[in-house]
């Protein structure tokens, strides 16, 4: 499997010279299988450039949404495959207790928030609600589960013949824990992440910021490192950077966190354009 980061920012797209290295686009990750299967993890603003990189001959795209907060779906209407009448676009994502996935997405992809109705997009659209346990897409075996984040939110564990990737871009496993980490069976997201070759995980806040943002659904750097250690991953990509954190600030935060945690796993802070071949 080959993994490419097209958007690494959390909450709000934050372009500008001060964020050029880590990137200003919101969450979007491309996962390619050896058999050509394409998974797109989240549809933040990064999905626009991903779409431009795809050949028009590609006839099936699978978009796996973790949740429907704006920073994870804002790019959807600008994804080229949705305008290709030859293409099948399969969208996985969580329903709510009262609305199915299609209805929830229509709230954004319709006027006045967006000029085009979802039903008017020319590609063939298919909706699949998660969590639905385990399922297969091409060579990938995928496990989904609800995780700790406001509003229905899932994480994805993606297993290929040669590697396992876990994607938890918005995740607050320390919420309410009087001592973190707890045991694995009481830790949100543990089962998805256990033993993964590559973990892409929320690391939005500094430890000081987290104190005043408990319950916002995101992890501090320290909690993210502790979660990765608990899960026994081989490599860790801190992700979903706060819009207020410039490149220089992020350099300092990650260097300090690595010095403090002394992790036994590889750490590669998420930068737009970075590629990984886990396993």
């Amino acid at each position: 499997m080959k993994v490419t980061l097209w958007g690494t920012r959390g909450s709000l797209a934050s372009p500008g010279p001060e964020t050029a290295r880590y990137g200003g686009n919101t969450s979007c990750v491309e996962v390619r299988g050896d058999d050509g299967t394409l998974l797109v993890l989240d549809a933040g603003t990064g999905i626009r450039r991903l779409g431009l990189s795809l050949p028009r001959s590609l006839l099936r795209v699978n978009i796996l949404l973790t949740h429907l907060h704006m920073d994870h779906i804002q790019g959807l209407g600008f994804f080229g495959a949705l305008r290709n009448p030859q293409a099948e676009v399969h969208i996985w994502g969580p329903a709510s207790t009262t609305l199915n996935l299609r209805s929830r997405l229509t709230r954004y992809l319709s006027p006045p928030l967006f000029p085009v109705h979802l039903r008017d997009l020319p590609s063939a659209l298919f909706f699949h609600e998660v969590p639905r346990g385990e399922f297969d897409i091409g060579e990938f075996h995928i496990t989904t589960a609800l995780v700790c984040h406001p509003d229905p939110t899932v994480g994805y564990r993606i297993e290929a013949p040669d590697a396992t990737l876990t994607y938890l871009p918005d995740h607050e496993p320390a919420l309410g824990a009087q001592k973190f980490p707890l045991s694995p069976d009481w830790t949100s997201g543990y089962k998805l992440a256990a033993g993964s070759d590559l973990l892409i995980h929320d690391a939005q806040f500094t430890d000081d910021e987290y104190v005043t943002r408990v319950g916002w659904g995101h992890s501090s750097l320290a909690h993210a490192f502790e979660f990765a250690a608990l899960a026994g991953v081989k490599s860790f990509v801190p992700f979903h950077h706060d819009p207020s954190h410039t490149d220089d600030v992020l350099d300092t935060l990650f260097n300090n966190s690595i010095d403090l945690a002394q992790p036994r796993f590889a750490v590669t802070p998420g930068m737009e354009g970075a590629t990984f071949e886990p396993g």
């Binding site: 709510s96 609800l146 995780v147 700790c148 229905p152 309410g176 069976d185 009481w186 830790t187 089962k191």
Partner: protein, 131 residues
């Protein structure tokens, strides 16, 4: 992969750990998977000492009886009603804590149903009735 509790149960435990009311949480099979510190005071034993307990054990361990001292059948306990009938239930009863002290308590239990028709367990709030 190790087993992991569903997110709703993790959040229920985290909420319970902050509340001043005694709370019991059981899984769909009735296994007692958590009780909080206020519950420890009523039950007379810390959760870290007892750990998780199967329904056959915890439903008789505290020797629940009615006001006449007649033992209560497990199926009449509110938590067991919530588990088996998937409906809320309430009653008072006498229990003998693991510290040997008999106490009159009231119990309210309700099932925990997740999205997509997932039945996750039940939760009971109970409190000691002071004479």
């Amino acid at each position: 992969m190790s087993s992991q509790k569903e997110i709703e149960m993790i959040l229920a435990r985290q909420l319970a750990s902050y509340l001043a009311m005694p709370i019991f949480i059981v899984d769909p099979q009735g296994n007692l998977i958590y009780y909080n510190e206020p519950a420890e005071g009523v039950l007379g034993r810390r959760f870290e000492e007892t750990g998780e307990m199967p329904v056959e054990e915890w439903s008789t361990l505290f020797q629940p009886t009615d006001e006449t001292g007649k033992p209560l059948a497990p199926e009449s306990l509110p938590l067991v009603v919530a588990l088996t009938q998937h409906s809320p239930a309430h009653r008072d009863m006498w229990i003998q804590g693991l510290d040997g002290v008999r106490r009159l308590i009231e119990v309210t239990a309700f099932p925990i149903n997740g999205q997509a028709e997932r039945y996750l367990g039940a939760l009971a709030i109970f409190w000691e009735v002071k004479a």
